[in-house]
Amino acid sequence: MQEEKEFIQELLNPKTQNQAFEKLLKEYQKPLYNHIRNIVLNHDDADDVLQNTFVKVFQYLNNFKGESKLFSWMYRIATNEALTFLSQKSKKNRISSETLQNKTIDNLKADEYFDGNEIQIKLQKAILLLPKKQQLVFKMKYFEELKYEEISEILGTTVGALKASYHHAVKKIEAFVTTN
């Protein structure tokens, strides 16, 4: 925690800012990209959202109180940015968020930055049928392999509720894949 406080000071100090930010990018760009990509599904969109996320992180670093970990604060920003991006994109295309995601999944086979097969596409379709919160919990637990405690800090939900949420999600996904 002390180390993190020092790192935040380095990020705020104009003299050490550049170096510290480079370090922050190196450490977090991959996990944050994966988190965002799991939400928006498409690489170009994930790239846009990741940029916005880091810009916001830099912009609001002064307001970061250190009440939560830097890691969970950044994940929270990334999640909000990704969800806002999806809702804006669906509004722009005048379709629902679900229809937009369905279209993206249908286009995954043709996506040059998707290297998956039928089971992966089926899994994505099964996830899409879940309630929004369960989708997030499942992706963070199953794909990103985050601990319940970490997810709890990011989403502000208790560990117990997260476990129940993940359990329901798995059951629904298994039922969908079995019958389809």
Binding site: P14, F21, F54
Partner: protein, 137 residues
Amino acid sequence: MKTFKLDNEPKIKPGFVVPENYFENFSAKMMKQIPVEEPKVISILQRRKKWIYAAAAIFIFALSIPIYNNYFLRSTEIEDLTLENYITYQSNLSSVDLTNLLDREDIKSISIDLNIDDKSIENELILNKNLEQYLLN
């Protein structure tokens, strides 16, 4: 039908990939986007803003004085001279008309008590050669 169980299956990865060198390029791109904090340069104009505003306010106030005098302090009453000139040159009123408008009180108030003593009248009568002519007329 075989029941699908996530835990029994090998781990399914999302299957997303990124372009080559994406993360290396991303870092470089972000570093260019992040503004480096520079000391704020306050121009002389900005520093003396208060004084400039004060001078401008005084200047505008000074300019407004003649305007105020011309437009706001101008009396709505017509000056005596203007009235006299109007009656003399523009009006159709004759002196008889004007006299008719005066009542006894008015005449009394405008009558002038010359208070000329008898001696002066006598002198005038003696010295004025045309007097006889006036009397005859």
